[in-house]
């Protein structure tokens, strides 16, 4: 199973799990690992991503996102 592989490996090398968030539609900019990251949230308001940078930006600084899934 992919999940088992992820758990067994070192955290730094682990493949980021896909997560879904609900956010207001728009273009977002934040920073992760000293890199500026830009991403769009479509009109549906749902973004599903396995990008660790996008997840970090949403989880560390965004208010109002709801739901986390895989």
């Amino acid at each position: 199973m992919a999940d088992d592989d992820t758990k067994a490996s070192d955290e730094a090398d682990a493949t980021t799990k896909k997560k879904s968030y609900k956010l207001p539609k728009g273009t977002y900019v934040g920073t992760y690992n000293s890199q500026e990251i830009t991403f769009d949230v479509p009109a549906s308001g749902t973004i599903s991503t396995d990008d660790a940078g996008v997840q970090h930006i949403i989880e560390s600084s965004w208010l109002g996102f709801t739901g986390e899934g895989s």
Binding site: L23, P24, K25, G26, T27, Y28, V29, G30, T31, Y32, S34, Q35, E36, T38, H56, I57, E59, S60, S61, W62, L63
Partner: protein, 333 residues
Amino acid sequence: VTASRKFGVLGIAKQSSVGTAAANPTYAMPVISGNMRPMKDTDLLPRNGTTQARLGYFTKTAHGTGSVTTLAHPAPLGLLLYEAMGTQAVSGAGPYTHTFTMSDDYPALPLTVWSKVGDSWWKFTDTYISKLALQGTTGENLQVSIDFESFTYGPSAAPTYTLETEVPRYKYIGSTTKLEANSATPVVLTNVQNVMWEVDRGPELRYGPSLTPTIITPDRMVNFSCGLTYDTTQQGWDFLEQAYTGTVGGGGSPDQGYSSGSFDITFGRHLQDAARSLQITGNGQNWQYTLDRPDAEVNPGVLDFDLTGIAVNPAGGGTETTVVLKNDVVAVY
């Protein structure tokens, strides 16, 4: 001979990469007070071992620093907020809604800052915002004070720039202010006289091998304070009761923790243009405030008090404060 006047200009531009200065300011504003200045931190060299003669100074660090106050011009304010807070979003279509939230990470791309005092221009590359404060008083224009830290500096030729127009800009209108005590009945206040909102990042410049400066992950602090007037409809009194008894309208015993509330302040850009605005909120019950009971006086007048506190990180993560800026800037900063 022509005398040099004290008039100052602040120019800012987001760099495309660390270490490379922008060519010209994206935004330029008249300065109300303050400046940017080069700094050299020096220390004494060890004395000569046999004669104890002094051998002079050496430079420990060289960097740029400064504190500048300008009016809160609608367009450049967004870039300053992003560089201070760390995360931004844009949506909508004229006026565009820019939302800023607090992030652990400084923006990866710092500012190039130009500072003009009199006829002298200086340019500061790789500039980070260490503190940003918005201050508003009823009926007056909103001001923004910015503390900068820069890695490198140098005198500069005058860049190509266009000053922001004097109007419109954000004016504090007290009637749109909302503050909530931690009560069953949120208090909406119409008598807030002044507000001050501050992001204090407290970054630290360090010099590593070969004296290459690096910046340490900054603190993450948000402060909010305001001056209120007590009135006969319990506005304000609720805050006092809540702060010392833990409940509004009842005795109760003192709460061990601080009383919490929220703030929601809207600044109108112009009375005829309410769609363009600046809104500052502290989320939920994350504003922990303190205040003192006012003194009675024999002289006539109203009772005023200062409500001061910190915004704390929500238990589940997220932002301590959110700023929503509606202006004519189409894209993200």
